[in-house]
Symmetry: C2
Subunit: 113 residues, 2 copies
Amino acid sequence: MKHRTLSCDYGCPVEAAMQVIGGKWKSLILYHLHCNSIMRFNALQKAIQSINQRMLANQLRELEADKLVHRKVYPVVPPKVEYSLTELSKPLGEILLNLRDWGEYYTNALDKT
Amino acid sequence: MKHRTLSCDYGCPVEAAMQVIGGKWKSLILYHLHCNSIMRFNALQKAIQSINQRMLANQLRELEADKLVHRKVYPVVPPKVEYSLTELSKPLGEILLNLRDWGEYYTNALDKT
DNA sequence: CCGTATCCACTTTGATACTG
DNA sequence: CAGTATCAAAGTGGATACGG
């Protein structure tokens, strides 16, 4: 579970980008945050169905450390925490939208063959 | 090294996309192929410095199986093999360009803090 | 030049149970 | 509601040596 928070010795910026959005879940989390602006922990888990609590919490922590999600905690009972994109990750949200479209195009194209 | 070639039970297309470009190398390979149109095995290895032969061969095979790279073999000695994007992956190349720009923006922004 | 084969360490992910 | 803790399984990546 060691997550190397960014040093700047990347060769190519593509590598840097993949480093922070790579893995099985991060791009999905960011994508859903982009579409919904603000989401609570539970909402994210419902949106991503197959993720479990441990992974969701885990990935959110890493994204937060990399300054790609903002975490707002309301000091109430029961707990309320809201997640959203940051200024850094907002442009990335747009790209993920394109990636989503390509993913659709791609799977459709595969189906036809 | 088990690579599940695509079935179509993805929830969200973002997931599908990440499935095929995920991992440490694939996005980089596709990015370089996008920039150079056609590249030989050696050229790719030089472009990506830190990758080793096994991984490069491996990832290229998977990308080929997923129809994201085209592999053209010239029956000559010494061997000559050219790799290029396919119709399916060309639009992806454009997206990787955007991802590259964001990666640059992101690392610069981090440096300033 | 363009790969394969083997072998192994590390990392990531998942199931389950528990908590303030 | 929003998490942690623990344990185990699976996946991924790397070094090295060899081959047509």
